[in-house]
Symmetry: C2
């Protein structure tokens, strides 16, 4: 058990945005929401998963929709209470604590804001260990846990409770409502017991985000290493490419941000070209036509100077970026994991090959 | 209080399909659902609105979506129980009785099936006195009554509860879910007290449907009148046209059946042409380019020989039909009523003129 104050939140936002793998929303917006809540209502208690009673009710809280839309619509602040009450009333049990559903600039921050405003603790765990675009893509689904009852609310005050026959149906129906509500809403889902949480969640992800954020913040202070060497070391990152954003193709469809970004190589990558495809999150990266990383491994772009993560909603022509890969949580590499979030699910015509295999001796490691 | 058995149901299905004004679904399908339930579980008690206690909870039950899709998907039978439990649990009060939300071949039958299967009475009232395509189009909306909490379920077992800031938002969100569920679902909405029911509902609509159905069934037995004269007399119908269906344009969009039908005149209408536009229900009828009737008045097509109603999902090239107009429930002719369901709401560029004015001396009354 420890306390999350201003500096912790700043670092978590930064680190979680890296783990967001391009998705999870703008860490600046996320930070504002969490800092605002903590300044107004006091700091938040972070519980280790082992501190949660086995029969406690733990619920994920998140924004659903296209991150680009969230930046314009933002969130009100009434949403958390509406969601809390809808879930507690429906389940007939008080919520013990919230968890983030995923790591990301916004979705690791909203749960902190919700906890601050409702006086609840946050548990140091999530359902992805990164960000994914669809709501059935959580380790809980692998554990056979239902996404519903799920509560959804928008900034206007509409609210909806779903109870579905599968987590894919939850995604389908909640996505339709999200689009009708303008493309971005707040949701509360995957009610789990403390025991289920300990078995299936990705543990200590808030702490990992915070450590990554701290390290990014202090990357220039490294002794005896270049900042880039230091960044790759503390993040356990595989360097895949370095380049200038030469083109961004982007569309918002089905409350997703879809698109492609092209990088022209810089430095040791001069003359080479990289492509990254995304659906909210980066799905696949290729260099000179050869795939260097795919989901579920994390494909991340960071600013070449500051090493701050560049989310897909902030891609801009001319920006100089470093492309890195991070290995995903082990459960995603099982057959059940790959069925949910492997490259073929997203329409990429390739089998999953672990990042570390793909990178062996390739241009990725010049 | 009286009992609805087999013959009553047959007649209600027929008469309500006429009041469905082209919408409300296929009376044959509706009848099968209601008769199946009554044969299995026993007949249904029909209450007069005045027999309902003022504080009783009364709820509308209906199918939502495109009638053409309903004919293929049908309904399971588990839906009523799911809806009943979702509503009762959410409101913390037992449902006293169901009412139909509208008159129509399917939507006057589903409530009978639900009442039979759950052992509840039906109240002789609805929210439209005809059928309309969108769910905010009920007299309850004029009375400031909320459509939500509303429960929705599909044949797969998915269920959703809505709580919205306006009845237009209920329509918006429920329509999105209906489309995602395949275009046709069962819903339970407009929870009202007995007192509200007595003040705002269209009363005795089940009985009116039954009388109309009886009369259609026995139209050939009229003495001293042609069947057509007899039909127009008992239905209080304005004869607008008689013709052969020469063309049907049809599309299913947004879980609505949209389209247009063209009639070539027969008999006294030879050489003339009529058009009818519909969105599930018939919205506007014109003869030789001149409007003869618009919503909210009822525009109905019936078979020229049998006087059985022809719903928009059953329009077929070559069919010979009589086009008639029926005056709508008085509340629809108020400014608040016309704002909800007047011709301009449906994109028809004309003010509402009551049917009886439009028909004065026109070709409609040759």
């Amino acid at each position: 058990m420890r306390t999350l104050g201003i500096q912790e939140i700043e670092d978590i936002a930064l680190g979680a945005a890296l783990l967001g793998a391009g998705g999870g929303g703008d860490p600046y917006i996320g930070k504002l929401v969490a800092l605002g809540a903590v300044k107004e209502c006091g700091s938040v208690t972070l519980l280790d998963p082992e501190e949660v009673p086995d029969d406690a009710l733990i619920v994920s809280i998140a924004m659903m929709g296209a991150p680009t839309i969230l930046s314009e619509k933002a969130v009100g602040g009434q949403e958390y209470k509406v969601l809390y009450e809808a879930m507690s009333q429906y389940l007939g049990k008080e919520i013990y604590a919230f968890i983030p559903i995923e790591a990301g600039g916004v979705n690791s921050m909203l749960p902190i804001a919700a906890c601050a405003r409702l006086g609840l603790p946050l548990v140091d765990a999530d359902g992805m260990g990164r960000a994914f675009p669809e709501l059935q893509m959580v380790t809980f689904t692998i554990g056979g846990i239902e996404a519903t009852p799920m509560a959804l609310t928008d900034e206007k005050g509409n609210s909806v409770i779903f109870r579905t026959v599968s987590n894919k149906w939850t995604e389908e129906l909640a996505r339709a409502v999200t689009m009708s509500c303008g493309g971005s809403v707040s949701v509360c889902l995957y009610p789990v017991t403390g025991a289920q949480l300990k078995q299936y969640a990705v543990k200590n992800i808030v702490t990992r985000s915070q450590r990554l954020g701290e390290a990014i913040r202090t990357v220039k202070d490294a002794k005896g290493q270049t900042p880039e060497e230091h960044f790759l070391e503390f993040s356990n990152g595989y360097k895949l490419f370095r380049g200038k954003i030469a083109d961004v193709l982007r569309e918002t469809r089905g409350a997703f941000n879809l698109g492609k970004v092209m990088l022209d190589g810089i430095g040791e990558y001069r003359g080479h070209t990289a492509f990254i495809e995304f659906q909210n999150e980066n799905l696949l990266a290729s260099v000179d036509g050869e795939i260097v990383a795919t989901v579920p491994d994390l494909i991340c772009l960071v600013d070449m100077e500051t090493f701050h993560p560049v989310t897909t909603d902030a891609l801009k022509y001319g920006k100089r970026v470093l492309l890195i890969g991070l290995t995903c949580f082990g459960m995603w590499r099982t057959p059940a994991g790959l069925e949910l979030v492997g490259p073929r699910y997203f329409g990429c015509d390739t089998d999953y090959i672990p990042l570390e295999e793909r990178c062996k001796g390739g241009l990725g490691h010049v």
